[in-house]
């Protein structure tokens, strides 16, 4: 390629030592398999966290809706009887309690643990049961 390089001859190429080629290949494959396994674990944690976060947000929104409904009813029905006002106040308290419960609920693998049940968005029934239990 270059006459100058001819003045600096380098040794001929050699094969990778056969006895260690297989051992090193196997070690490499094991290493990358272990790294793949390791890299999937944080991904699972992120997904789990996202799922519980979504469940939490939905439950909180429902609770906010209940609370707002109670307050709206309360402000629109100034002429109502004392019994009606008490009902609205109870609904408002239940909504607020629900918000606190949902936000404080511990996250689990699939969603949030609430009222002895794990709530996920995949199960509307579960969600409804959880809301009722919390309320």
């Amino acid at each position: 390629m270059n006459p100058t390089l001819d003045l600096l001859p380098i040794p001929a190429e050699r094969d990778f030592p056969a006895e260690s080629l297989v051992a090193r290949r196997d070690a490499l494959v094991m290493s990358i398999a272990a790294e793949q396994q390791h890299s999937r674990a944080p991904l699972r944690a992120v997904l789990r966290s996202a799922r519980s976060h979504i469940s939490r947000v939905w439950l909180a929104l429902i609770a906010v809706f209940v609370a707002v409904l109670a307050l709206a009813l309360s402000s629109l029905s100034g002429y109502q009887s004392r019994g009606g006002t008490t009902t609205e106040a109870l609904i408002a308290v239940a909504g607020a309690a629900q918000i606190i419960t949902v936000l404080a609920a511990p996250a689990t693998r699939d969603g949030v643990r609430l009222g002895g049940q794990v709530l996920t968005l995949r199960s509307r029934e579960q969600l409804a049961r959880g809301v009722i239990a919390a309320a």
Partner: protein, 195 residues
């Protein structure tokens, strides 16, 4: 028909470790010899080759294949270049300690192969003494184009620089090398004769 590097790479990324094992078998020899020419030590080259593939795996998002053959080798040699460059910049005292350790652990074995390897190492060490006087980027481009026989486009992939940069660096490297050889001609001739 044998699978291309890209297909094997995709298999590996998809979770099939055997695909990466096949890539290792395919390119280990080239990476091994490239590493030897940077270290002048066959044992270190063997370790470096394994390390290159592991680092390549960790940097798999950055992989580049050649346009024509779809080979991953130039990119692997680029990974090797960076890895060995960093090793060269490492603590000299640590290297000296490792060298002393290796010297102490060496068991005499006068097999023909071992003698050949020792001779290779001495010869390569002499060449590297001259090469080390070149600027790093010129040394890299010479090692890739002259010793590993990469095309300019492939060296550009390895070094992550434009093809024009490879050409200009190679041209400057040749000039510098010529000057070095002319300046140290007598010394080099003696070494060449003795090896």
């Amino acid at each position: 028909m044998a699978e291309t590097d890209r297909q094997l790479w995709d298999r590996a990324v998809g979770g099939d470790g055997a695909g990466f094992g096949l890539l290792f078998e395919r390119h280990a020899r080239s990476v091994y010899n490239f590493a030897f020419r940077q270290t002048a030590n066959w044992a270190a080259a063997e370790d470096a080759a394994s390390e290159v593939f592991l680092v390549a795996w960790r940097r798999r998002q950055e992989v580049v294949f050649t346009n024509e053959s779809g080979s991953v080798l130039p990119w692997l040699l680029g990974v090797a270049t960076n890895l060995l460059r960093n090793a060269r910049r490492g603590d000299r005292r640590a290297k000296a300690a490792i060298a002393r350790l290796n010297a102490n652990e060496a068991h005499p074995d006068f097999s023909e192969d071992l003698i050949g390897r020792l001779s290779d190492e001495a010869q390569m060490a002499d060449v590297l003494r001259v090469f080390d006087r070149l600027p790093e980027h010129e040394r890299d481009v010479l090692a890739l184009c002259a010793w590993s026989k990469l095309e300019y486009e492939e060296a550009a992939i390895a070094l992550a620089v434009p093809v024009g940069t490879v050409r200009s660096r190679l041209s400057r490297a040749r000039s510098h090398l010529r000057e070095l050889v002319e300046t140290n001609g007598h010394e080099l001739d003696e070494r060449t004769v003795t090896t």
